[in-house]
């Protein structure tokens, strides 16, 4: 992977992805007042006849999308991640259960959302959507990967949920590297054989930084962008488990139900190994700057470094 540069937020990637999808006339966009925030407004401005504005009514929006999908459209419905949760039962019963391929984007996910405070900081979305049969769950780490993954959702034969984030983070991918991404296939950002840090979203960049600090200490960690939480890339997990023998997971999400849980579920049945989880530890956030909140929640580079050292001690004790 080439150098990190400052890019856009993953929500910007979603907006650009929608514009690229517009060439398929079946693609329609649904909004619940927050198009400027989720970035679907770029599509609305260019294709007003294929954009449906439904006001501040997320439950209605999700099922309107389902009705459109049943009529041959490929709907993209977005709002804040937290407000998609308001329509969980609509998504479960009206979209996924009915087998309708609606693509949902929840922006402003995680505590990284910052100063809006805890009401806007979805920390459970990945977990709840992961429980729905046939649902694909995606959480990209930067704008370029978000754009490519958004474009790829169109050909999925399932409904999908993609979480994007509000704030800019350093880019992980170059445009060419981002084009190589595949839904359901984790992306190895850095190779190391001591442990593997399995991360998603904004934590991929933080994990990458942590791996550099670790290297200075003579510890070599693989770093994975596990952008697809479901279906999980079990093949890659097995390869890394065999090489590294221990994992650290890192997500801007509750440690209950998200990526850490998904990896632990896999490990407990397929390849038991020590795992340390970095994430929101069963609590709500509050208003503050993104980095202040990450620090408060023990989700910074140093926390990952400490988690790696701990998991290496556990690995050693087992051997």
């Amino acid at each position: 992977m080439s150098g990190i540069s400052t890019g856009g937020a993953s929500r910007d990637g979603y907006g650009k992805g929608l514009l690229r999808l517009a060439e398929d006339s079946r693609v329609v966009v649904l909004e619940a007042d927050l198009g400027k925030s989720t970035k679907s407004h770029h599509f609305r401005e260019k294709f007003p006849d294929r954009t449906v504005s439904l006001g501040i009514a997320e439950q209605n929006m999700m099922i309107v999308a389902a009705g459109m999908a049943s009529s041959g459209k490929i709907p993209y419905a977005s709002t804040f991640a937290i407000f998609t949760e308001r329509a969980f039962e609509q998504i479960r019963n009206g979209i996924a259960r009915a087998g309708l391929n609606v693509h949902i984007c929840g922006s402003h996910g995680g505590i990284h959302t910052g100063s809006d405070g805890s009401s806007a900081q979805s920390i459970e979305d990945l977990g709840i959507y992961r429980t729905i049969p046939n649902m694909t769950v995606i959480h990209p780490c930067d704008d370029l990967s978000a754009e490519e993954l958004t474009v790829l959702t169109k050909d999925l034969n399932t409904p999908s949920y993609m979480r994007t984030v509000r704030n800019k983070v350093p880019r992980i991918y170059t445009p060419d590297d981002a084009k190589k991404l595949k839904i359901g296939k984790g992306s190895l950002i850095r190779e190391g054989s001591d442990t593997a840090i399995i991360a998603c979203g904004i934590m991929v960049g933080i994990a990458h930084e942590a791996s550099k600090i670790l290297q200075a200490d003579g510890i070599f960690a693989s770093v994975v962008d596990m952008h697809t939480i479901k279906p999980l890339d079990n093949e890659l997990l097995r390869e890394l488990a065999e090489i590294c023998g221990c994992f650290v997971t890192a997500e801007d999400h509750s440690i209950i139900g998200g990526l850490g849980s998904a990896v632990s579920e896999w490990a407990s049945e397929e390849f038991p190994l020590p795992i340390e989880k970095i994430g929101v530890k069963d609590r709500f956030g509050e208003s503050g700057e993104s980095n202040e909140l990450l620090e408060q929640m023990d989700m910074m580079e140093d926390n990952i470094v400490q988690a790696v050292k701990k998991v290496l001690r556990r690995k050693k004790m087992q051997s």
């Binding site: 209605n60 999700m62 309107v64 009705g67």
Partner: protein, 271 residues
């Protein structure tokens, strides 16, 4: 367009017998709301809904969204009378692997356009179908049936407001106003008042009818089909359990199978 009323009444009677038979066979199900809705549904399928019996998945068919999905026996009885599903199918109602699921489900049954079971969602789904039809410049109409208790769900009014804003004149709703919900009479649970006036204030064209008078039903469906000035709502005043004396206006038959004795009595009454 004029229709012979007599054959519609005969079909409704046959449907009522199917409804009782399949619920008795399953030992569970919802007779009350199936019997209240069946006259309007027969009218809809036989005079208003545009579909092709030989191809129930015809792309440009009208869509019918049964939002009060617990009244599934009413839909299955019609699909059976139309020879789309068999007698064996309807008698397997609610059993493992049956095409006749407890609540109507588009993944399981040919001729079903919506996966129901959770109240309040059907009007939104119909609105989605209506918007797609308009984008496609298709003449297909979208018909939705909800229960009166169902209007307690806020999502109904989210959809009602949006339909009016988006001028979906191709969207029609029928409210089965049978005045009973799961626990008791609507008036004892949370009375919802004048539903027609509520829809009217949301920008809908409305018409109130006796939902068991086939002439009024056919006439109102024809009105809704041809009125292109906005979304239309038909408030059908009905009697829960209509056609079986001891089920009529009886809250306990919202979701209960008849006993052996009640089954015999009901089938006798229905001739």
């Amino acid at each position: 367009m004029s229709y012979q009323i007599e054959p519609l009444a005969i079909m409704a009677k046959e449907c009522r017998k199917d409804i009782i038979e399949m619920i008795y066979s399953a030992k569970s199900g919802h007779p009350g709301g199936s019997l209240s809705a069946i006259d309007v549904l027969v009218g809809l399928y036989q005079t208003a809904l545009n579909y092709r019996l030989e191809d129930m998945n015809w792309r440009d068919r009208d869509r019918f969204i049964m939002s009060k999905g617990h009244a599934s026996p009413a839909i299955y009885s019609i699909l059976h009378q139309l020879d789309i599903i068999s007698k064996e199918d309807i008698l397997s109602f609610r059993r493992l692997g049956s095409v006749c699921q407890g609540h109507v489900d588009m993944k399981w049954t040919d001729g079903v356009d919506f996966s129901a079971g959770s109240l309040g969602m059907g009007l939104s789904f119909g609105l989605g179908c209506a918007l797609a039809a308009k984008m496609d410049k298709s003449k297909r109409k979208i018909w939705v049936m909800i229960g009166d208790g169902e209007t307690q769900e806020g999502q109904i009014w989210e959809a009602a407001m949006a339909a009016s804003y988006h001028s979906t004149e191709n969207l029609n709703i029928i409210v089965d106003r049978n005045r009973i919900q799961n626990d008791d009479f609507v008036g004892n649970q949370m009375e919802i008042g004048n539903i027609g006036k509520k829809f009217e204030s949301f920008g809908w064209n409305i018409r109130e009818i006796d939902g068991h008078n086939m002439e009024e039903i056919v006439d109102a469906l024809d009105w809704a089909k041809n009125d292109n000035s906005g979304p239309s709502a038909i408030i059908a005043q009905t009697i829960k359990g209509k056609g079986v004396s001891f089920m009529e206006n009886n809250p306990s038959f919202h979701g209960k199978s008849p006993t052996d004795e009640e089954f015999k009595l009901a089938m006798e009454e229905l001739g």
